[in-house]
């Protein structure tokens, strides 16, 4: 086990949503390279408390890369420099002694800052509530093996369903668009036979809820590059295709 020495942290501090916020500089004299990035922030917070200062607020929970609670722009990159890795799984061995590390919250209009590094991502929940489900009331389901699902289809649905809803895609997008998130959710359900009945109703509702809160997609591809679960940008094409189709199909349904 070795140690990193003399790290400078430039951390975004913001008292409240209305506060304009500013960077503050802190130093970490020594930290084990086995520590995770968030454990490094724990060390900083312990130091702040012992100096009688308020700890830095940041969202985190499982610390194993699956709950999607943690965030952070690290040196301007969502979840930091390591590919396919959430901030909680980023370890200090990725950095060097003497480094200056800039730590900021997600920056997007749809994700207002609550305090310091914590943002409000509940717009994601609004998208799901508008149609991100398969209606299957408890108790009425047929036997699970009644509808065989070809393995490649189940695998494709699973690839999309791996999304952890962290918001890195939105933070990385120059437009603050949520197309990768929404498309991952839509394609998970639209690939599956169980999802067909509501396919076009779902797509139309979710895309339009997304548009209420988020910016528009102009195909930069930053979202996919930043995604810790490496969701492919292909899902956006599928969403767009289904959205276009929904405009015809849903109207046809209404005219019946």
């Amino acid at each position: 086990m070795s140690h990193l020495k003399n790290l400078t942290l430039k951390v975004w501090r913001q008292k409240s949503p209305a506060d304009s916020g500013h960077f503050e500089n802190y130093t970490i004299d020594e930290i084990s390279d086995e520590a995770s990035f968030l454990e490094m922030l724990d060390v900083l917070n312990e130091k702040l408390i012992s100096d009688n200062k308020e700890a830095v607020v940041f969202d985190h929970d499982c610390r194993e890369g699956i709950c999607g609670t943690c965030s952070l722009m690290i040196n301007g990159v969502a979840h930091g420099p390591q590919k396919a890795t959430t901030t909680c799984q980023l370890h200090m061995r990725t950095f060097n002694s003497g480094d200056t590390i800039v730590v900021e919250p997600w920056r997007a209009t749809a994700f207002p800052i609550i305090k310091d590094l914590m943002v409000d991502r509940s717009a994601f929940d609004r998208i799901i509530e508008s149609g991100g489900f398969i209606t299957a009331v408890t108790g009425g389901a047929p036997d699970a093996n009644l509808i065989p699902i070809p393995k490649p289809v189940a695998d494709a649905a699973m690839d999309s369903a791996a999304c952890i809803g962290c918001g890195a895609c939105v933070a990385a997008c120059p437009n603050g668009a949520a197309n990768l998130f929404t498309a991952a959710k839509i394609s998970h359900l639209n690939y599956l036979p169980q999802g067909q009945s509501e396919r076009f109703k779902r797509t139309e509702a979710m895309v339009e809820t997304m548009d209420e809160y988020f910016g528009s997609c102009t195909n930069h591809g930053e979202c996919s590059a930043a995604c810790p679960k490496e969701i492919s940008i292909d899902v956006i094409a599928l969403m767009n295709k289904d959205y276009r189709a929904s405009k015809f199909k849903n109207r046809k349904e209404l005219s019946r």
Binding site: S32, V43, S50, N52, G68, H91, D125, A144
Partner: protein, 639 residues
Amino acid sequence: MNMFNSKIPAGALHEKWDNYKANAKLVNPNNKRKFKIIVVGTGLAGASAAATLAELGYQVDAFTFHDSPRRAHSIAAQGGINAAKNYQGDGDSINRLFQDTIKGGDFRSREANVHRLAQVSVDIIDQMVAQGVPFAREYGGLLDNRSFGGAQVSRTFYARGQTGQQLLIGAYQQMARQIGLGGVRLFNRTELVDTVTIDGRCAGIVVRDLLTGEIQSHAAHAVVLATGGYGNVFYLSTNAMNCNVTAAWRAHRRGALFANPCYTQIHPTCIPQADETQSKLTLMSESLRNDGRVWVPKRADDNRPAHQIPEDERDYYLERLYPSYGNLAPRDISSRAAKRLVDKGQGIGPLKNGVNLDFSAAIERLGREVVEERYGNLFQMYERIAGEDPYKTPMRIYPATHYTMGGLWVDYELMTTIPGLYAAGEANFSDHGANRLGASALMQGLADGYFVLPYTISSQLASLLGKTIPGTDHPAFKQAEAEAKERYNGYLNVKGKRSPDWFHRELGKIIWNDCGMERTREGLQRALSDLPALYEEFKTDLRVTGTGDSTNQTLEKAGRVDDFFQLGMAMCQDALTREESCGAHFRSEYQTEEGEAQRNDDDFCHVAAWEWTNDPMNPTRHAEELVFETAHLATRSYK
């Protein structure tokens, strides 16, 4: 009131649940909307209960301290979910799942509850598939299964190594649909700080808004606590950082009995602690033991890298000690075996605190591609954390606290000893006895939320029809609010020198050393003298910076650590008074000549349920006798 009316329905074991449902009182659909039900926690149990109750027509208010319900820690379960579907035709049945679960729990769980769990397990899989959970499939399109510890059949359904995530997203989406439809009102970033009892019935809850610090009351006809387990009392555990015992503990302090707090499960396959800043431990799914072989060098202090140690100098100790289950021996047994070898100096890794979980034989047999498909994301996660490639060198693993079988005492209806207050999922004690089998936590959470509570809650509500319930202006609510305010202001005003995290770490050390994998009378007595002293220090030397009127994670933590202290004392007392070894509770004084757990069925074939007395060092112990009519009390053997 008889404290131990477990309300087990009459009839033969396999008919009890059907009998119950056939005779339960119902609420007319038009009347359901007149009832308000509060669900606290939005993991598998909470989200599935909230969604189903709202579908039935009840008004549901759901509370979570997370930013979104989809963050709950059910999401981190990796390996799978059990169900007695017998899709593999390998001899599985409801009775076999029941027997495995009773035996796995070392005959310390309630037969009727466990049998019901096995019965509804098959419905869960149907329900989740209908909702779009992408379980793993065979090429023909049918569902795939794998095997888990403590079972000789393949009954575990899985979605890669992310089964918990996929099930939680399924339950969350079903609840989200109800939020969109107005059936569920969601209160996120809101933490329960008290429950309120009026005239012997649970009248509602008091919560704290984590963004503003505001304390607020909510009244309801029934309250469901689906708030998870208390493994974080150990500080280092596989639980998420925010998992805590506060909701269950506050209900306990208001009169709900707390059962078997000493039944805490240590999971055998976690990544060992790497350094002093470690904030949590990460689990590597038990499913890895399907293909990985566990071994240590035969010689102590063998510093050679794994590949340089020849076959005949390796001890594949699980295969040697438990030939019929081998690497799939249950969790408690595998954990103790690892601890004993590490204690003897046969541990591996820089700190000599692990054992090998080796995939080289599997890679040779199946090819890297198949191994990657089965466990790819777990291998990747390991590589991120440990900085080593498990395709090339064996994983280093060591046991860590993972799950807590103990929890709020509930009857067959999942109701606590406070009428109107229910506990579901890991928060209750009911189904796993002294040890939980792998892939059974997801099963129990969803069983409680989808298929048990919706039936049992109506039978209580039926009698409340037409009666008014106390509102939040009732003095009992006002008093609970005042106490909560005082409590949180109190933490801010101690103005001592130590952070809540410092106390939590010290508390964890005491619990891990003296109430962990192996317990002794001496150790427990030592813990019971160390804990009150440290708790006293907590009350006088705590430092919480910041204020109480905006987001303050240090303050939130202080409240949780406070409750962990009191729970820790209860755990040690429970462990001390249970003078036997059973399942995950291992007392060194009570073991067979071969070092296995020795139960004492004459004196301890019961549930210990503790009553709060205002002095955490002197709670009252009650016992609920366990009667086994179908399963035969036998010495658990996995040899």
